[in-house]
């Protein structure tokens, strides 16, 4: 059923359709609307049986989910940014214990400086946590990915993060096709845990594993993720059969058939990129041979699919909302791994950090520059060099320059006068 609703609400309703049994919530923007909606459903009784627990921290949220999942309950939580980092120890633990928790990450930057706006630093900081990470392009996809995530997680006994851009998606009102309970029930079987805490069949979960077996345990986690590379497209196909929509999967290509230049990106920025590409491909605009590869599944990283998508291009430009400080990109490093030995030119563009708007206008310029191989290996989109250079000079001149963020804000001007 088509509905006009907020992304968070859409995800909440989709999660509810998955019949979660334990939900734990700790407020952090921009995921709050999701758990608020779920909390209301539990409180009013429309989502039952389900325990909604207001925990005291994200660390507790993940820990409660661990306990609930280990006791055989379908468990869900949501977080973002600092919250994800605060729960990081438990995030690794959940995957180490093989517990199929599904968590929404409403992607947001990580401080300091504190920043509530969108980028992918949070989720990507957990790229080696052993979780599967799926990135939604639209609210529809976010909704659909959650349904697929529960099934995948439970089949694999691994936890999954469904990542959606904070504010840009979570707070956006747009059209979604909300499936019916019957559809979801048909797609998502009951949770049959691989291990469960049960007095009638006691086990000890979470043993201390020494050098004699630790490598094997870690390898098995890797093997599971490799297995996921097969399962994810299969489940996406089944999803299409039930719901009639192409959602999920490992990657999505757009107008790459004859593209010489392929942009690689994740999340909601793909929409703006597609609009830009459509415009560039117009004959009156020069008919650029450009396309885009969207990465839906970041973990496991679909090396083969990425290689296949890029193999006929001349170059690729990874546009990512994340940054490996001291190196460049994170997604870019992963993509380069996939195209090792293929002789492609590759560029890393760090964009949209901390909610910096990624505009069509900037993209047009960027892509054209890319097509002409005029990009630096690592480019920072719309960086205010003026401000940066000023600060660098200041630091050269004086020892006590004070906090960087505050100094920059002074240079940029009053926050309230910000352009939208």
């Amino acid at each position: 059923m088509l509905k006009q609703m907020e992304g968070s609400r859409a995800v909440a309703e989709a999660v509810a359709l998955c019949r979660p049994e334990v939900i734990c919530a700790y407020p952090i923007s921009p995921q709050t609307h999701i758990v608020e909606a779920l909390g209301e459903m539990v409180k009013e009784g429309s989502l039952a049986p389900c325990e909604f627990i207001n925990v005291e921290s994200e660390f507790a949220a993940m820990s409660v989910a661990i306990g609930a999942s280990a006791a055989g309950a379908r468990s869900y939580t949501a977080t973002a940014s600092q919250g994800l980092l605060f729960m990081a120890e438990a995030v690794f633990n959940a995957s180490g214990l093989g517990l199929p928790i599904v968590m929404t990450v409403a992607n947001r930057a990580i401080g300091a400086p504190i920043n509530i706006w969108n980028d992918h630093s949070d989720a990507l900081s957990q790229r080696d946590s052993g979780w599967l990470q799926l990135f939604a392009e639209t609210n529809q996809e976010a909704l659909d990915l959650h349904i697929q995530a529960f099934r995948l997680a439970e089949e694999l006994s691994l936890p999954i993060m469904v990542c959606m851009d904070g504010f840009i998606l979570t707070h956006a009102y747009e059209r979604v096709d909300m499936p019916t309970q019957a559809q979801v029930d048909a797609y998502l079987p009951r949770y049959e845990p691989r291990q469960v805490l049960d007095p009638s069949d006691p086990v000890s979960i979470g043993a201390m594993v020494g050098p004699e077996a630790f490598m094997e345990v870690r390898y098995l986690a890797h093997a599971k993720q490799m297995e996921a590379l097969q399962l994810i497209p299969a489940y996406a196909a089944e999803f299409k059969a039930v719901f009639g929509r192409d959602s999920g999967g490992l990657t999505h290509t757009y107008r790459t058939e004859d593209a010489e230049t392929i942009i690689v990106a994740m999340g909601s920025v793909l929409g703006t990129i597609k609009d830009t590409i459509d415009e560039m491909r117009q004959p009156e605009n020069g008919g650029h041979k450009i396309g885009v590869l969207g990465i839906t599944c970041f973990r496991p990283f679909p090396i083969a699919a990425v290689a296949a998508a890029l193999k006929h291009a001349k170059r690729f430009v990874v546009l990512e909302k994340s940054m490996a400080v001291g190196l460049g990109g994170i997604l870019a490093v992963n993509v380069r791994m996939a195209v090792t030995g293929m002789g492609l030119k590759g560029y890393t563009v760090v964009a949209g950090l901390g909610g910096r708007a990624i505009t069509k206008k900037s993209l047009h310029a960027l892509f054209r520059q890319g097509e002409q191989d005029g990009l630096e290996p690592v480019t920072f989109l719309d960086l205010d060099w003026n401000v940066v250079n000023k600060q660098l000079e200041r630091e050269k001149a004086h020892r006590r320059t004070g906090p960087v963020a505050e100094a920059l804000l002074r240079d940029v001007g009053v926050v309230g006068a910000r352009n939208y």
Binding site: L97, R194, Q195, P202, V203, I205, A207, A213, E216, V217
Partner: protein, 540 residues
């Protein structure tokens, strides 16, 4: 369940890890000697019979008791219970009332008519026992248990010796004495009354393989006191023996007893009961030097008996005596002061101790007598082979309990001797001192007070002064026993082992260690309330 590798494990699989290999010390269950047992002259296994009494199985308790002493009802009245003096419970609150439980068991046996267990098969050996006092009865009983024929020759008209002729009724009712003697007779002990043995070797010729002498010490010691004709000077033995005759001795209104032993007290209290207005004990030293037991002194004082401390009788007149005040020198010996006092007295009873009549031993070769005591070796045998002796005639520690112990010991020695062996007592285990125990576990439970006859009746009748315990109290008292040195199955070792390495074997079967897992931490030994576990180094 297809469990995740290594992270998830099957329950209890650690049993594969034998932590016993960590051990450098190993615990061992032991039975240590409880101090009460060690202190008992009769060699009773007090802890052993209390252990049975604790569960309310009084018959079993009694049977355990009479293995070492056939006279519990008597003992429960007249024993001065050195066991209680040794009792470790004194360091927790107060000693266990062992004596009162013993009396309860003895009385219970009499009430229920319990008989001794059937003796061992007859050996055909015969032993002559001279004297039916506690030593003789004890020896005869033990010999009978072993299958020997014990025949007692008693010079007097009734059996019991000093128990009958020396201990007043108010301390030992005669029906109690009679009942326990009767049980012995029923058991097969033969007693010939009014059969005086004047020559022991002759008597032995009458088909006896050995002899045990337990003739006691019935001859009163005298002291020279210048006396007028009219004054009545009697001896304590005669007075107390007289109590068993047809008519009670005539002592008059004012009676003075001379001496400081238990006998002196007995006589004074008897005199009071016979109607004396005044009974005065004259003793040359102070109360703390007095040989009589303090509780008896106390009871006597309660009954209105007065004691003149630090006094000696210098002369006895017609109706009074002259007393000289004494003073203790720096060595604690009384010295005359030259200060005199007269005290009214219708009679003076001398209670200055007794000697044994050793006339029957004349001409026995090898026999040694020293200071009126017949000398015996560690096995109670005199210098003459086959002649054993015990009781008052063989020692200065003249109590019923000591006599019973002598009799038992002699019987065991006679048994060995009859087999041509030398009796060797089993080695004594180390004593369960309170340091080897963990007395914290015993809850505060003060000793039960026995009922005491009211003071009026104590001054006029020969009813028993000290009452017995009823069953509840006896059980309470028995359960106060800390079972020193002997496992009483409190489950502590089983409970406190951090490695579950103690196996509980079930009621009466105690525990055993599971050395597969015992790491040797020693908590079991440290927390054993009664000190029945010790740690020993593991051998390499």
């Amino acid at each position: 369940m297809d469990k995740p590798f290594a992270i998830t494990l099957d329950p209890g699989s650690s049993l594969a890890n034998r932590t016993g290999s960590w051990r450098t010390f190993r615990p061992e269950y032991v039975d240590r000697l409880p101090p009460c047992n060690a202190a008992c002259p009769a060699g009773e296994n007090i802890q052993g019979w209390l252990f049975r009494a604790e569960s309310g199985d009084y018959e079993k308790a009694w049977r355990a008791l009479v293995e070492n002493n056939p006279l519990p009802a008597i003992m429960g009245r007249v024993c001065y219970h050195p066991c209680e003096g040794g009792c470790n419970r004194q360091q927790v609150d107060s000693a266990v009332g062992i004596n009162s439980v013993e009396r309860f068991l003895g009385d219970e046996a009499n009430k229920r008519g319990w008989k001794f267990d059937t003796p061992a098969a007859a050996t055909g050996r015969r032993v002559l026992v001279v004297g039916s006092g506690p030593a003789g009865l004890s020896a005869a009983y033990q010999l009978t248990r072993m299958g020997h024929k014990a025949v007692i020759h008693e010079a007097g008209p009734l059996a019991g010796g000093m128990m009958r002729f020396g201990i007043p009724k108010y301390r030992l009712p005669r029906e109690v004495l009679d009942a326990e003697i009767k049980r012995l007779l029923d058991f097969g002990v033969e007693i010939h009354l009014q059969t005086k043995v004047s020559n022991v070797l002759d008597a032995m010729m009458d088909g006896f393989d050995a002899v045990f002498l337990g003739v006691g010490a019935h001859i009163a010691k005298r002291a020279y006191i210048p006396a007028g004709d009219a004054n009545k000077i009697l001896d304590a033995v005669a007075v107390l023996r007289g109590m068993e005759g047809e008519s009670a001795p005539m002592l008059g209104r004012k009676v003075v007893v001379y001496g400081g032993g238990n006998t002196a007290i007995d006589v004074a209290r008897t005199a009071k009961r016979l109607g004396a207005e005044e009974a005065i004990i004259v003793y040359r030293r102070t109360r703390d030097k007095m040989p009589a037991h303090d509780f008896e002194v106390e009871e006597a004082l309660q009954e209105g008996i007065s004691i003149k401390w630090l006094s000696t009788i210098k002369e006895a007149g017609e109706s009074d005596i002259m007393v000289e005040k004494m003073a203790l020198d720096d060595k604690g010996f009384p010295q005359p002061t030259g200060e005199f006092e007269r005290i009214e007295a219708d009679s003076v009873v001398l209670a200055l101790g007794q000697d044994a009549d050793l006339s029957l031993l004349e001409n026995v070769p090898g026999l040694v007598v020293d200071k009126g005591l017949i000398q015996v070796d560690a096995a109670m045998m005199t210098g003459h082979p086959g002649v054993f002796a015990g009781g008052d005639m063989a020692g200065n520690d003249r109590t019923v309990t000591v006599a019973v112990g002598h009799g038992k010991k002699a019987a065991r020695a006679i048994d060995a001797w009859l087999r041509g062996e030398k009796y060797a007592p089993p080695p004594k285990p180390e004593i369960a001192t309170v340091e080897r125990m963990n007395p914290w576990y015993y809850s505060d439970a003060p000793k039960t007070v026995r009922p005491v006859l009211d003071i009026i009746r104590r001054q006029s009748t020969f009813e028993e002064v000290l009452g017995g315990l009823d069953e509840t109290n006896a059980l309470f008292e028995a359960r106060r026993c800390m079972s020193c040195g002997n496992c009483f199955e409190c489950d502590n070792c089983y409970g406190v082992c951090p490695d579950n390495a103690v196996i509980k074997r079930g009621p009466g079967k105690r525990f055993q260690f599971n050395f597969d897992y015992c790491k040797g931490c020693g908590i079991c030994a440290a927390e054993c309330p009664c000190g029945a576990i010790r740690m020993v180094p593991e051998e390499n």
